[in-house]
């Protein structure tokens, strides 16, 4: 036992010294040179003594060079050595030297500026020879007793390759092993007595505190990053446990494993995993592609099989047919003749050289000839003389070259009349492809040809008729245009020439009353008023008729019409509505419709005008206008509080010149204009009304396409 730290007074300076040693001297490396002269007894003693001291106090952190000046005299000059033995401390600075007796360890240590007590204390702690430490902490000095019974534990952790340390209740490191010092990159001497939490970042301290707290309750595990000397951080896995060392002493033992490698391995593993996953994905994609192509191949195989089956089937059928055909030929030529005799067509056969050898019954019946008549070139006799040369030349050419033949020409019947036949011939070949016989038919196509001719004639007639019709239509259209033009001119002249005299009548009547009323009797004035009224009425009729004729006749280009804007304009622009004191309310917004703006203006001003006009005397006209959209149609309603209309008259009111009441001014044209205009815009107008209950007119129009 080297150091006893029993009382505060006694241990205080020593501890301070110890701590200073830990913090200052403890981590510097010593470079020592021992200069000797040969192997004298003193030389050997000096070497042994220095080596012992170094091993004891500077283990692991000193270099000692022994120089024999007999062998290397030049070194003496370089180091300015004038006596031997001499010990030179080159590092740490300042340079120190000691000449003479080097066996006095106290003397040597002073020269080396090694604090033997601090070094001894560390060794003592390591060996378990220290019973207590006094450590200066923030709360002042504290005594930590280290009981001797710790020794087995110390021995154990000295042997461990993991870092290990013990913590006091206040969190100071009471003991640490070399691996721990290596982990935290701090000399062991400085590590002992340090605060454990100083090695973790502020943010991790709560976690550390929790780990230690749990350790006091029994044990805990966790991972934390520790800050080390070079500024980097080291991830450590910590295992903490409470360590009871006898009745009065309890510590926390911490075992730390460096996770840097593990983390690196983990990262590598993750990367490997990712690579693996990527490979799996790629492989999966490959597999999917492979599966797809396999499926496709399978489908192709199925298709191929089906195709081959079909081919097989066809082949089988062909073979069957051929067997049957051969059998038929071999079986009975007679049977074939029997069949050929019973067909309605004329039929004949020639041998492979083109010699006619057989004709069927229909041929003989139609031509009225015998087999003998037809042999050789005899058959040509029934060909129409105009066609015989061309047709027989073509036929003979086909017979010679073994070709199929087709032609249409007349054949003479036994009655001497010619009928048209469609004639066909095919060569019948043997296995080598050589034509062994020709089989020909003649089909009567006279009726067909006649029908075709008649059809062509009919088409011709139709074409001529169509041409005539078009000409007529063009003429009539022209005439109609002319008429329309005349009508236009007519209505134009009505508007000018007929209305001018009416205006004159009205105006002169006005002037008469204004300027000559003192010369007129009351009757006279009344007559003049009647003239003016009649003229005014006539003017109104002409005006309305013009509008009506325009609505019926003129082009009504259809556009997108904003009903809201249109109705607002109508109510603002027609002062008579306001003059009547009418209450007109429009429920905006109204939709856009497809219509003709000026025609719609005319219609709606007529409807609103009627609504305002046809009220019982003394009633304030109230008009409500709103719209509903149903699908692609817009329904616009004009509702009034007027005198109403008998349901029996609902259809009549839309006819021209019909007037429902003689009590109100009107031409009987207004609703007819509405009816025709709405009709021409592809809409409909209708009314719901009863006498005394007001009327609701409904306009149905197409919704504007964009809306």
């Amino acid at each position: 036992m080297v150091t006893e730290l029993k009382t505060a007074e006694k241990i205080d300076p020593t501890t301070a010294e110890f701590q200073r040693a830990l913090s200052h001297g403890g981590d510097s490396r010593y470079v020592l040179r021992l200069y000797l002269t040969g192997s004298t007894r003193r030389s050997i003693q000096s070497v042994n003594s220095i080596k012992t001291l170094c091993e004891r106090y500077l283990r692991g952190r000193y270099d000692l060079e022994v120089i024999d000046l007999y062998q290397q005299p030049e070194r003496a000059d370089a180091a300015q050595i004038f006596a031997a033995p001499t010990l030179v401390k080159e590092l740490p600075l300042p340079l120190g030297r000691l000449v003479g007796d080097l066996t006095d360890s106290h003397r040597v240590l002073i020269a080396l500026k090694v604090n033997p007590e601090a070094e001894d204390a560390l060794n003592a702690i390591r060996k378990g020879e220290v019973d207590g430490l006094l450590i200066a902490g923030p709360e002042g000095r504290q005594v930590f007793t280290l009981h001797g019974t710790q020794e087995p534990y110390r021995l154990l952790i000295e042997q461990m390759s993991e870092g290990a340390l013990t913590l006091s209740e206040a969190g100071f490191i009471l003991y640490a092993n070399q691996p721990m010092a290596d982990l935290l990159q701090m000399p062991l001497e400085r590590l002992i007595g340090a605060e454990f939490r100083a090695f973790v970042a502020a943010t991790d301290q709560p976690a550390l505190a929790e780990l230690i707290g749990k350790a006091w309750d029994g044990g805990s595990r966790g991972e934390l990053s520790f800050r080390v000397a070079d500024g980097s951080s080291v991830p450590l896995r910590l295992g903490l446990s409470r360590l009871s060392l006898g009745a009065e002493e309890t510590l926390v033992s911490v075992v730390a494993t460096n996770l840097t490698e593990a983390r690196k391995k983990e990262a590598e593993l993750r990367q490997l995993h990712a690579v693996l996953e990527q490979r799996v994905l790629e492989r999966t994609a490959d597999l999917a592609a492979a599966r797809l192509s396999a499926l496709k191949l399978m489908e192709e195989a199925i298709d191929a099989r089906q195709a081959s089956e079909t081919a097989n089937q066809a082949l089988k059928l062909e073979i069957t047919e051929r067997i049957r055909a051969e059998a038929a030929v071999g079986e009975s030529e007679e049977r074939f003749h029997a069949i050929a005799d019973n067909i309605p067509q004329l039929a004949w056969m020639a041998d492979g050289e083109g010699h006619f050898s057989w004709f069927n019954r229909a041929w003989f019946t139609y031509t009225g000839t015998t087999l003998k008549d037809n042999l050789g070139d005899g058959w040509k006799a029934v060909y129409h003389p105009d066609y015989v040369q061309g047709a027989s030349a073509k036929l003979e050419h086909s017979l010679r070259d073994g070709l199929d033949w087709e032609d249409t020409f007349p054949l003479r019947g036994q009655d001497g009349q010619y009928r048209w036949f469609l004639s066909r011939m095919n060569g019948i070949r043997d296995e080598s492809g050589k034509v062994v016989r020709f089989f020909g038919t003649n089909t009567d196509v006279t009726a067909l040809r006649e029908a075709q001719t008649r059809l062509a004639e009919a088409l011709d007639i139709i074409a001529r008729r169509a041409e005539e019709l078009e000409k007529t239509v063009a003429e009539r259209t022209g005439k109609l245009r002319e008429t329309i033009g005349e009508l236009e001119a007519f209505s134009y002249s009505i508007s000018h020439d007929m209305r001018a005299p009416l205006r004159a009548m009205q105006s002169f009547a006005d002037i008469l009353i204004q300027e000559c009323s003192d010369q007129l009797s009351e009757d006279g004035k009344e007559y003049i008023r009647r003239i003016a009224t009649a003229a005014e009425r006539m003017d109104a009729l002409i005006r309305d008729l013009l509008v009506y004729s325009r609505v019926v006749r003129a082009d009504l280009p259809l556009d997108d019409v904003d009903l809201s804007a249109l109705l607002r304009g109508i109510v603002e622009d027609y002062p008579q509505f306001n003059a009547a004191g009418a209450d007109i309310s429009i429920i905006h917004p109204l939709p856009h419709v497809r219509g003709n703006a000026s025609s719609l203006t005319q219609c709606l001003s007529n409807l609103v005008g009627n609504a305002v006009k046809f009220v019982a005397p003394g009633v304030r006209p109230t008009v409500r206008i709103w719209a509903e959209v149903r699908g692609q149609r817009v329904f616009l309603f004009v509702k009034d509080n007027g005198i109403g209309i008998d349901p029996q008259l609902h259809e009549k009111i839309f006819t021209i010149f019909y007037r429902n009441s003689r009590d109100y001014e009107g031409t009987g044209i207004g609703l007819a204009i509405v009816y025709r205009a709405v009709q021409r815009m592809g809409g409909e107008v209708s009314v719901v009304s009863e006498p005394g209950k007001g009327s609701t007119f409904q306009l149905e129009l197409a919704k504007a396409p964009r809306a």
Partner: protein
């Protein structure tokens, strides 16, 4: 400032009479009625019988009937709008036709306004009074005519 002069082309003597009377009633002293568009052109060109620049100063406003012999109202309007001196002179078409084609053609040709001839002498006096207000303001703007009874605006209605 000299009294404004209105030059009015009208072939119907009755209409000419009513207009003279209406202007008198409205208190516009200077109304010159000529029988057709040709006479308007003669007046503006200073041809006989309108050669005296003192008695025949440039008009403040030209009123044109449409349907007239020799040179119609719209032809006259086109001539005026093609003349560098009178291109800015206000020209009002006054007619008994409310045909949309007449209205649109008049505005396209450069009419300042388009009026429908009113039925009755009293109504014409109202038109004349409204015109007087515009003439007396010293500055004639197209928009002023919108307030005159019988004016048909640009997008003509049936």
């Amino acid at each position: 400032m000299t009294e404004p002069l209105v030059l009015y082309a009208e072939d119907d003597p009755n209409d000419a009479f009513f207009m003279r009377r209406a202007f008198r009633e409205a208190g516009i002293p200077n109304l010159l009625v000529v029988e057709d568009g040709r006479a308007v052109v003669d007046y503006l060109c200073g041809r006989a019988p309108f050669q005296d620049p003192v008695t025949c100063p440039p008009p403040t406003l030209v009123l044109l009937d449409i349907n007239m012999p020799r040179l119609s109202g719209l032809e006259t309007l086109a001539w005026i709008r093609g003349h560098p001196v009178f291109i800015e002179t206000p020209v009002v078409i006054l007619t008994s036709s409310s045909h949309p084609k007449d209205i649109s053609r008049a505005y396209e040709t450069g009419a300042t306004a388009f009026f429908l001839k009113p039925g009755g002498a009293t109504a014409l006096v109202d038109v004349a009074k409204a015109l007087r207000g515009i003439l007396m303001s010293g500055q004639i703007r197209e928009a002023d005519f919108d307030q005159v009874p019988g004016c048909l605006k640009r997008p003509g209605i049936l």
